[in-house]
Structures are given as C-alpha cells and as structure tokens.
C-alpha cells in the first residue's frame, strides 16, 4: 500500500512545569499509514497520543525526527502538507461557541481560502450528512456536547482533505451519543475513502472502526497490528473457570506470579495464557488444594484485555 503519512523517529520532551525535570512524551516513534487506512492510535493517559497527533499536524516541532504527509514535510512544507490533512484536536473545544453551527462552517471553510460560492454547497452537504440542518442557526454554546463534537468533526471534513486526524472524538460523550458519533465516523470512513487516524483510549471505538491499531505506551510503539490479528493472537488462550471453593491466599500468590493477567472474583477465574500448555500450570495451582472445578470454558477475549496486556508487558511477538 502506498503510504500517505510517514512518521520517522520522532522524539518530544517537555520541561515539567515548576520543576525543571525533563519529561519524554514521545520516544523514538515511527510508523507509516497507507492511503485509505483507518488506524487507531491507542494508549493510556499520558502515553503520547496527543503529542503524536499534533506533531503530525505540524503544530508541534519534534526534538528529533520528521513527519511527511503525501511527501511533504510537515514543518518545512507546512502549507502544502496542511492541504492534505485536517484534524479535530480537542473535541468540542475546537469550534467557536459564540458562533452558530452555520457560521462556524462558513468561517473555517473561508479560512482555508475556499471561495464563497463553493462554501455554501459544501456546508449544506455536510449539514445533511451530519444531520445538523435543524441546528444550523443555533449557537454552538447551546448545543449538547454530542452535537458540538459532531460539528467539530464536520469542520474537519469540510476541508475535504485526504487525511483526517481525530484526537479522542468520543471523549466525554454518553454511551448513546458515543455510538452516534461512531456510526458517523464509520460512514465517513466507508463512503469517502479517507485515511483516518483516531486517537483514543476508548477500546470499542478501535475494535469497531479501525483496521489497524498502533498501541503506544510511554511514548513508544508497543504494538502495530491489524485489529483482527491482535484479537486472534489472544483468542485461543483465554479461559473462564468456575470454582466451587475460593482460592487460598497461597494459590492467589502463585497465580499472580505465573499469570499476571487474570481476574478473580466470586468463584470465577478468568485467565489469559501465553501458550496453550500453560493450562497445565494453571491446573497445578488448582490441584495443590484440590480446588473443585465447576466448569471450564474458553472465553471471548475482548479488546480491552488485549490492550491492557500489551501496555503492561509490551508485545510478545
């Protein structure tokens, strides 16, 4: 696949406020994104997602490394690079609350130098795509957070660029609205063939929308896989065991030592295994106290568990 974004060895450190301690937010990050790919940039709080996104946008100058967009350096050829990308950076904070929905769209289009006659057509198109026609003349200030977020996304879509970067597009939304925004993003991804990078710690969003995920932690890439591959990697080795008696303290200590990723509550034990043979080790632990077993089941692993595991110990492969 032809790559449209290329991130090469970027470093970024900040001086901590108050103390003069240097904090490395992004530490030698590299990846490529192909044309039309939908990539989830996943990581816990402070992992460096926003820093990465802003560096790609050329809003932040990395200490080392470079980013090219469609062959244009995001800093040296900033104007040209920006013709190919748009971004929603701070969810609903990226738009003018004191203007109406319509005024926001017209303003941001005009600010990219789009002529008046082209603006109106585009704005109408977007209003209907995002189902915002009814709210056209409403002040953004009076909209719900979900609506504001949708408008922010539509402002980014307005630019009609090849690449759209979304930093936490579902942050702070209730479940219902989160779904709505997710549906909208899916529609855009499917219909418009855009390259999309979504940063989030909302795992279902990635599982649902993205083909590929780049998991970062402490400023480093810990996994860069197709979502289905990641899921497959773990599929075979998740077990749910119902016990008739609780585990002893000793058993729990052993469990923690050998299977750091497990969940134990109310007689139910959920364990992820690195290898199939590890099931015997698990059985050994149970055998020690001859803990009676009610049922053993393979379980569906969810993405959240995969993510936690990767963040905790890095990718196994």
């Amino acid at each position: 696949m032809e790559s449209i974004i290329s991130v090469k060895g970027i470093y970024k450190s900040y001086k901590k406020r108050k103390s003069s301690e240097i904090f490395t937010a992004v530490n030698d990050l590299s990846f490529d994104v192909g044309k039309g790919e939908i990539v989830g940039l996943l990581g816990p709080n402070g992992a460096g997602k926003t820093t990465t996104i802003k560096t790609i946008c050329g809003l932040l100058v990395p200490d080392q490394g470079s980013v090219t967009i469609n062959g244009f350096d995001s800093l040296k050829d900033r104007d040209k690079a920006l013709r190919h990308i748009s971004a929603v950076l701070e969810g609903n904070r990226n738009i003018y609350w004191r203007l109406t929905v319509y005024e926001n769209l017209v303003y941001f289009a005009g600010n990219r130098g789009v002529p008046k006659k082209d603006i109106r057509r585009k704005v109408d198109e977007l209003l209907s795509l995002f189902q915002l026609q009814d709210k056209k003349d409403e002040l953004v200030n009076n909209l719900s957070r979900g609506m504001q977020q949708k408008l922010a996304v539509s402002v980014a879509m307005l630019a009609d660029t090849d690449v759209v970067l979304l930093d936490e597009p579902t942050l702070g939304l209730d479940v219902e609205t989160g779904y709505e925004v997710r549906d909208l993003l899916r529609k855009i991804a499917r219909d418009q063939g855009k390259t999309i990078i979504i940063s989030t710690h909302d795992m279902p969003v990635v599982q649902d929308l993205c083909e590929r995920t780049i998991i970062i932690n402490a400023g480093k890439v810990v996994a860069d896989e197709r979502v289905e591959e990641l899921l497959k990697l773990f599929e075979t080795s998740a077990y749910q065991i119902e016990l008739q008696e609780p585990l002893t303290d000793e058993q729990q200590t052993m469990l923690l030592a050998q299977f750091p990723i497990h969940q134990w509550e109310a007689l139910t034990l959920k364990v992820n295994l690195d290898q199939e043979q590890d099931i015997f080790k698990l059985m050994d632990i149970l055998k020690q106290n001859e803990t009676p077993i009610e049922t053993i089941n393979r379980t569906e692993i969810n993405f959240e568990q995969v993510f936690r595991k990767l963040v905790n110990e890095g990718v196994a492969s």
């Binding site: 946008c57 941001f108 005009g110 130098g113």
Partner: protein
Amino acid sequence: MTAFWNVLRVNTMMEFLELRRYKANTISLLLTFYIIFVGMMFGIQVVGDPAQASTNTQYVIVNYIFWYFGMMTLQSIGWTISDEAMKGTLEQLYMSPVKPWKILLSRLLGTIFNHFVLVVVLLFLSMATAGEWLNVNPVTIFPILVLTLAGMIGTSFIVAGMALVFKQINAFLQILQFIVAGLTFVPLSVAPFMVGAPFVKGVDMTRQIMIHGYTLADFSMGDYAWLIGNTVVYGIIGFVFYNACEKHAMQKGLLGHY
C-alpha cells in the same frame, strides 16, 4: 491572492457578527463615543475664548480617536491569541494552509474596518449635532492614516507574539493603555525624541491635517521619510518577532491550552 481575499472576507464577517451578537456592548461603545464627541464639541462653543478652545477640543478629539484605534489595534490580535489558545480554537486556525499571520492580520483588518466605519459615522453625527466641523479631508488624511495604521499593525504583532508565548497578558495590556496614551497624546513638538516610537509620527501628521489644515504638500520629505521608515521598521520588527515567538510556541507546545 484570491485565497487571501476569502480569508479576509470571513474574518471581517466574524468580527462583524461579534459586534452584532454582543449588542449591549456595541451600543454602549457607540453611545460613549457619541457622548464624548458631542460633549467636547459643545464645549467648544460654550467655554470662554472660542478660537483657543476650538483648537484644544479638536486636539482632544483627534487624540481620543487615535488612542482608541491604537489600543484596539495593538491589543486585538494579542487578545485573540490568548483567548483562542485557552478556548481551543487557535490550533484549528493553525490547521489552515493559509499562514496563521495572514489569518490574524485579516482578523485585525476586519476589526479596524468595522470600527473605522462606526467611528467615522459617529464623528459626522456628532459634528452635525454640535454644528462644529473638523477638517476631515479624506484625500489628504487617507494616505497618512493608512501608513500610520500599518505601523500600528506591525507593532501589534509584537504584542501578539508575546501572547503566543506568555498567554496571560492582561496585566501587560493594561500597562499598554498608558503607553499608547503617551504615544498618542504627547505632540512631537513637546517630545521630539519620540519620532522613532511606534506610530507617533503618523499621529502627529494627522493632527496637523485635521487641526491646522495641512495638505499633503505642506509636509517635508523628512516628514514622509520618518513616517514611512517608522511604518516599515515596526512592520518588519513585528513580523520577525511574531515568527520567532511562533516557532518557540510550536517547540514548547503552547498553541493548545495545555
């Protein structure tokens, strides 16, 4: 160029919408102007020796207008930057392929244009009310005014650059009011050394036109050299300084609200 025109159009529009949306603010601003203008002009007729009073009052009115525009121009982008960095829209402005300084310049030109229209209308209204006419010959005033404003705009980019880096510039803007008052109210004949300060020369020349009836031909080459030199120098300083601050802000991640 057409791209810039579109940018200029929407930014002027935005400033206009702001005036319209915050009606109470705008109306009280207009009333203040009207009352001050009319009050001063009636003052001309009522108080003592009309010949002397007239010049003084005209002097105050012209100074007041310049002070107002000076303040507005110098603060405008700086205030926009600190406000929008905090609210989160500044980064979205920086996502435009049009250079940010052009966007900010458009915003400023829009503001100046809108307020210029308002002030000119009010000035004429006040003159009609009071029946006291200042010498406002547009052909003479316009070129001087444009050059003076251009110098002010250049200086305003220095303030804007500081806003990018420091964000909290309210205290500084307050002090700035006094500096601007000094620069506009004190005539060059009193403080000739101020000829190199931002926009002082232009303000002084406009006063000569509006109060003493100068025409463009009455100024010397030296006057024009100072005026143009002043504008060019502060334009360049503003531009260079702003770009340096911008670079610094992008290195430290200061465009957002972090």
